[in-house]
């Protein structure tokens, strides 16, 4: 049942072009701006520069080869849409194929909402180039001027003569024409596919339970492995008694390596059972930390006299001394696990001559480099095949589970399927870091913001701020600093890193300041932007006009300030080059606030797939709200106190708000949308709850607040 067969670049060229005829265009998906190149025996013999291809077979089938891992951000659908648009292809004939790792794939990674921005122009050029070649082939055949030919739905047409040939019929001829250096791209007003709603190309496979995820991969002869890792951060193995585990049925071996005890067996369940009778003792190997201790630590970090200065404008001290009013507020968030529904897992087969790695990863390139270093095997001998990912949220940017699988396979000299249980996933580290912020604002007598201070105290975050984001640039006197604590508790990128919490804290604080200034929160933000426009201070990362537009549109769409019976809260955030404003609406039920609705206005430039974009926004709001409301991973004596979904609460269907989403139609090159709609949600909700109750939520998860637990 090997559903994912290994292919290499050599193989796919063989499969797609040289045997079947037609046109195969190699192009660079990321990286270089090089023009596409026709792939044939001659061009492949030289040093070609491509990492993707577009093929048009003689039967008209169009294949787009996607080197980006698919984890639900829908690139398997949206990327081929871009190519098909410029090509004027019949969408029903377009197939997207997930690529195995090629060593030339220089940005084969999913994270930072960067997939679309990186590929937009290159994908368009590839489609337009193929279209040019097909037209040229037809014009030659008909002996007419190419300028008189048009294309539609996978046909080249010549209206004067009524000639018409399909792309399939022309593909072979087209492959003999010289690729032009420059092809014109379509005017966006002629877009037919881009901006429409196209369904996920994998829907049917998903709905019928096809084995497409990493955990579904099976290879005859493989063994199953699970690893017992230290139960507390800051500890290491003292002793291992694996006799009982080894004696369990179906167990092949128990192997201790590094800080890991791996149980290897013939099936997942037998391995799970044997793990329960392992006796491993641990001893201290670093700080043993707890959430209670971190709470204390945050206070001292916020008062530290050795912060790292991130940005300083004007004279903050004088501004605060001369202020008519000073507002100070602190916000805190806990660690969070990523909790993708598919737990970490990977297949590795380390043989003397080559290494095969198969599974769900957001960073196949780095995983391969790491395995190469670990096992001292040249990268050329290592292939990585990417399966569909059962969610990532940043967790699969790390490749610890890939190196573990490879190391085990090399020790066992067998193909190994390494599986993390859900408990391993939740307790195994790489969390969204815990952070506490202190904000201070100075207002003059007319309520103008004349001074602003932010200090972030984080645990393994590095820079817990975004110092050139709003409101930087709009305040004359501003100071942004961070203090970081190094902890044995491992952290990593979590969907919309840093901003997933910073946005909530900042947008709540801006609300507090607006109230103190006696101004409407929306108008207060607009005034700040106007100030940044007329008298900008220092570096400004965001585009003032675009931010202003989403704010105004969200206010208008939500009927800001005009609604009866609901309490509204506003929030706006710029992240990953996109702008999203949200309005949360809360009503009171049985004395508790309930989030009814969220309006979202996004500016992510050109929307490629409307259905996919809507889904990203709805999903991000559910995610942002769910985690702000319920998410908490706490520690006692170095060990996580939540271990699985029975004591780690995730949002469920009953708890979601209605979402009304809009997109700004401005034709700017697309930016990502996998993350940007998440950061503003917490603030929109908290500000609405304040409006409804007068209670300012300053700590996540909200569910722990008294408001929700009257006793």
């Amino acid at each position: 049942m090997s559903t994912l067969n290994k292919t290499s670049r050599r193989d796919f060229i063989k499969i797609t072009s040289l045997t079947s005829g037609g046109l195969v265009l190699g192009f660079s998906w990321f990286g270089t701006e090089a023009a596409p190149v026709i792939l044939n025996k001659a061009s492949l013999a030289g040093d070609v520069n491509f990492n993707s291809y577009l093929s048009i077979a003689t039967d008209g089938t169009i294949t787009v080869f996607s080197p980006n891992p698919e984890l639900g951000q829908n690139v398997m659908t949206s990327f081929p849409m871009i190519v098909a648009e410029e090509l004027d292809a019949d969408w029903s004939k377009v197939k997207a194929v997930q690529a195995p790792l090629d060593k030339k794939f220089d940005r084969q990674l999913t994270g930072g909402s960067g997939a679309i921005p990186h590929s937009w122009k290159r994908l368009r050029t590839a489609g337009a180039t193929a279209r040019y070649l097909l037209i040229a082939a037809a014009a030659k055949k008909w002996n007419v001027d190419p300028g008189e030919c048009t294309t539609a739905n996978s046909f080249v047409l010549h209206s004067k003569t009524g000639n018409k040939l399909s792309y399939g019929e022309l593909a072979e001829e087209a492959s003999k024409i010289t690729v032009p250096a420059d092809v014109p791209l379509k005017n966006r007003k002629d877009f037919k596919i881009i901006g429409s709603s196209v369904k996920n190309v994998e829907n049917k496979n998903i709905a019928t339970g096809k084995g497409m995820f990493g955990l579904d991969f099976y290879r005859e002869g493989m063994v199953y492995a699970m690893i017992q890792r230290p139960t507390a951060f800051g500890t290491k193995i003292k002793s291992v008694d694996d006799a009982a585990a080894k004696a369990m049925p179906g167990i092949i071996d128990v192997i201790t390596f590094k800080n890991n005890v791996a149980v290897v067996g013939k099936s997942t369940w037998e391995v799970m059972k044997a793990r329960k009778v392992l006796k491993v003792e641990y001893e201290k190997d670093g700080n043993i930390e707890s959430t209670a201790g971190h709470n204390q630590l945050f206070i001292s970090m916020l008062n530290s006299d050795k912060p790292t200065e991130r940005r300083k404008d004007g004279d903050v001290e004088t501004a605060f001394k001369s202020a008519a009013k000073v507002i100070t507020s602190e916000y805190q968030c806990p660690f969070l696990p990523h909790s993708p529904m598919e737990p970490m897992n990977f297949f590795a087969d380390v043989r003397a001559d080559e290494v095969e790695l198969i599974g769900a990863t957001q960073t196949p390139g780095s995983a391969r480099t790491a395995v190469s270093k670990l096992l001292n095997i040249p990268e050329e001998k290592i292939s990585v095949t990417i399966t569909r990912l059962g969610g990532g949220f940043g967790r699969r940017l790390k490749f610890d589970f890939v190196t573990e699988a490879a190391e085990l396979s090399s020790i066992l000299k067998k193909p190994v399927k390494l599986i993390w249980s859900k408990e391993d996933d939740m307790t195994g580290g790489s969390y969204r870091p815990a952070v506490r912020y202190r904000f201070e604002a100075a207002l003059d007598a007319s309520g103008n913001l004349i001074g602003y201070k932010l200090r972030g105290a984080g645990i393994n975050v590095g820079n817990s701020t975004r110092e050139n984001n709003f409101p930087s640039g709009a305040v004359d006197n501003l100071l942004i600093e961070t203090v970081d604590h190094q902890s044995p508790i491992t952290t990593g990128a979590w969907r919309a890193p840093v901003t997933n919490f910073l946005a909530f804290a900042e947008q709540s604080f801006i609300d507090e300041v607006a109230m103190a200034a006696g101004k409407d929160p929306v108008q207060f933000r607009l005034d700040l932007l106007q100030k940044a426009r007329t008298t900008p201070v220092g570096a400004i990362n965001y585009n003032i006009d675009r931010m202003e537009t989403v704010i105004k549109t969200a206010a208008e769409k939500s009927g800001w300030g005009t609604k009866k019976g609901v309490s509204q809260g506003f929030s706006v955030y710029f992240s990953h080059q996109s702008y999203v404003a949200q309005v949360g609406e809360v009503v009171m039920k049985d004395g508790k606030p309930v989030l009814k609705k969220v309006y979202a206005v996004s500016d992510c430039g050109e929307v490629i797939n409307k259905s996919g974009a809507l889904q990203q926004v709805m999903g991000a709001i559910v995610d942002g709200y769910g985690h702000a409301m319920y998410g908490k991973l706490s520690f006692k004596d170095g060990a996580p106190e939540q271990t699985n979904f029975h004591n780690y609460r995730m949002i469920r269907m009953k708890e979601i708000p209605e979402v009304e989403a809009y997109f700004i139609d401005n034709g700017i090159d697309p930016t990502g949308l996998g993350e940007p709609a998440l950061p503003p949600t917490g603030g929109a909700v908290a500000n609405a709850i304040f409006k409804a109750t007068g209670i300012r939520l300053k700590q996540q998860p909200f569910i722990d607040e008294k408001l929700f637990n009257p006793a």
Binding site: K199, A207, T208, T268, K273
Partner: protein, 152 residues
Amino acid sequence: MAAFTLQINGKEYKTDVAADTPLLWVLRDHLGLVGTKYGCGIAQCGACTVHIDGNPVRSCTLPVSAIKSAKVTTIEGLSKNGDHPVQLAWDEVDVPQCGYCQAGQIMTAAALLKRNPKPTQQQIEDAMHGNLCRCGAYHRIREAIQSASKKL
């Protein structure tokens, strides 16, 4: 180890496993039916939902020995050609994001509509409460169930 004969998707399967092996792992590791997913292993997420005599059951905590002659339906057997009204609605409404939870969602939804072809929104939310979707595709899951219900 013990021998079990199971009725799955209208076929007879024989397997030789420990009596306490959850049905989930029998399906996945021993019978090659990997459409049923492992999410939590403790009956909290619904990714492993199958039908036992038509009722939705979490296969991760159901020992194979408890099944006896009951009829098991997995996502692979929900329909012959992937055209169960719920499966069709899933495409029509464009539900899946990462897709990992969706087999379980579909199985729970199909069982609900069989029992109650015209559920209210509240009844849908109650029935789906045990199925987590980390991608937050809940809006469309609900909409797809409503759409399938209209066509029944």
